[in-house]
Symmetry: C2
Subunit: 217 residues, 2 copies
Amino acid sequence: MAAGRAVRAEQVSATRELILTAAERLFAERGVYAVSNRQVGEAAGQGNNTAVSYHFGTKADLVRAIIRKHAARIEEIRARLLAGIGDSTDVRDWVDCLVRPVPEHLAALGSPTWYARFCAQVATDPALHEIMVEESLSSPSMRQIVEGLRRCLPELPVEVRAERGEMARHLILHVSAERERALADNSPTPRTSWQAAASGLADAIIGLWLAPVTPER
Amino acid sequence: MAAGRAVRAEQVSATRELILTAAERLFAERGVYAVSNRQVGEAAGQGNNTAVSYHFGTKADLVRAIIRKHAARIEEIRARLLAGIGDSTDVRDWVDCLVRPVPEHLAALGSPTWYARFCAQVATDPALHEIMVEESLSSPSMRQIVEGLRRCLPELPVEVRAERGEMARHLILHVSAERERALADNSPTPRTSWQAAASGLADAIIGLWLAPVTPER
């Protein structure tokens, strides 16, 4: 009986993984709303039409599950990078910890990837946007970076810090999504690797954080 | 007969405008794909279920018509700003011409606006993304700015210029969309006006353009 339960748990876990992978790919290639649960189920090889809702519930629940799967690995990368910089007061170190985890994760997945295009859609969708915000607020490593940048840039007004933090997140997400799309389309990209793309992002985001602030009129 | 045709043309033009306005609002608030042509027609007060397809064709055609309506006004603002800077070799002048038109246009529309949230969805949607790229490539004022920045920053490698130009576009679009969403939700915003938001964007984008380039390894 115990062995039977273990086998069933393993089957469930394998089915869930198949569904997550199929959903992410279809969402990235055709659009989160253009694809139905039934289409995801078919692409995941599930004969049963209701497999996706059975395993994940609503589309929002499925979206959240895809994000959490990747977020856990991105969080591990960021924790490792943060362990390497300690109490640094160099903006570049904190920006590296902010920028590198997503491109490094995408590089590790091998080509092609779908996650960045999927996330860009979720972040701009009126119904799903909140999921992205919640998941990103729950990241301990992101809170550590916000605090590290505050210590590096104490003179920056708090609202400018909030504004530039938001800008950095937009850049990491949308530059990654554009690069992913270009790779999928065999279009030219400004950089030859995810690592080089991360370097370009880091340069720009350091410039953004260090830019002088024009006082509000 | 001629008067009759003029009246009919005016009616058609008014109907199209009602449909464009209703579509933009529903797309921004509920999602471009979550809303059907029938729902757009109803919100625009059209009794006939096929009014939207009759006047605009497919969803992609409707999306393009919304973008063109706004793009014409944004182009006018940018042309006016460009006329004021002549052959400037100051990066700040060119960045101002790049950054200010969208926030200025949104400010002129009065609160609430829907266009920035709509555009952010279109830019990240796999099926609609291309429309945004085509419309932006066809802008003469954008070509002028690309050329102006090239003259200001001749030492910047061509691929870094492409990369940073793309980054600036992401920032203008997604910062505007986030601000618009926050205003619609009565959430706090880092800036008190669209003008101040433009100033924050310009500061950051100047920092981004002027940032040193780490050579690719």
